[in-house]
Amino acid sequence: MSRRGEAKISSELFTLTYGSLVAQLIKDYEEDEEVNIQLEKMGYNIGTRLIDDFLANATQTSKCTEFRETADVVAKVGFKMFLGIVPTVTNWSEDFTECSLILDENPLATFVELPSSHKDLNFSNLLCGVLRGALMMVQMRTDVWFKQDVLKGDPITEIRLKLHEIMVDEAPPSDE
């Protein structure tokens, strides 16, 4: 909208605000699982809108027709554009409907240590929602979840993507 040089926000602000929001949700909800749901839902809504920004700025103009290609673009273009990192796409299922994104670093969790009282919290669950929402807008119905997370003591941070169907109907999905 504005053509004036818009001040860029720092990644520190995003990381801190996200962490502060999660802390607030932990206070507000009794169950970690409920916090996970809220974060995913919030991410989904972000993803369905963020895709416009992505399509407007991505240099790749051809449409992805296969999930394999899509996952690659998500990692190399999407993550790079919005979070400044490039996860590795790996662990494909034989039929190429499931894969993993391995995050060497996670900008959402830079200053975070999870207390042992919140073992079930998927701190960065927002990311799963963003991915699911953005993919839904390009007609790919998916499940996205944290399979491993270094915050929980796992050796790596791994987001798992599972494609259910590529929808032929072009009608936009309604919000959940």
Partner: protein
């Protein structure tokens, strides 16, 4: 880090909190939640940028701490500085941001002004949190000027 992501994130955060508290006609609880989120951000920004904790003499006077908020903390968060700082030298400060980042794209419709009145809780919290880290207890009142400008009235309690 992309501005688009943060902006969408912030809007969705407000929406989610609003949905959670839409039963109460009183918006003050919602305002308080957003202010709290800002408070923790202000604390962290202050602590991670004010250098060595073993050198507490960094700030000679109260005004130095306020200046640090206006320049460094605002700079870290929004990549700009507070535009005007005035004080009566007795614990009252008036800060003005001529173009608060969060308001840059806001219109002047009543609904958007209502939203802006909530959104200002976030920078109010950042100021209060930053000053709390410096050991200053302060009451912060945010006030919308002609958007995207806004003002913050600070009243520091006697130690």
């Amino acid at each position: 880090m992309s501005n688009a992501l943060f902006d969408l994130f912030f809007v969705e955060m407000l929406t989610m909190l609003e949905e959670r508290h839409d039963d109460s006609k009183d918006r003050s609880l919602l305002f308080h939640k957003i202010e709290e989120i800002g408070f923790r951000v202000g604390q962290s920004l202050f602590e991670s940028n004010s250098g060595n904790v073993n050198k507490p003499t960094r700030f000679k006077e109260q005004l130095d701490v306020i200046k640090f908020i206006c320049k460094d903390v605002w700079g870290m968060a929004f990549n700009k500085q507070i535009d005007t700082l005035r004080t009566n030298h007795k614990g009252i400060y008036l800060l003005q941001d001529n173009a608060y980042r969060g308001f840059n794209k806001m219109g002047k419709s009543p609904a958007e002004v209502e939203k802006a009145k909530l959104m200002i809780a976030f920078p109010c919290g950042i100021i209060r949190g930053g000053l709390a880290s410096a050991g200053l207890i302060v009451a912060v009142k945010g006030e919308l000027a002609t958007l995207p400008a806004c003002k913050f009235n600070l009243e520091i309690a006697d130690a």
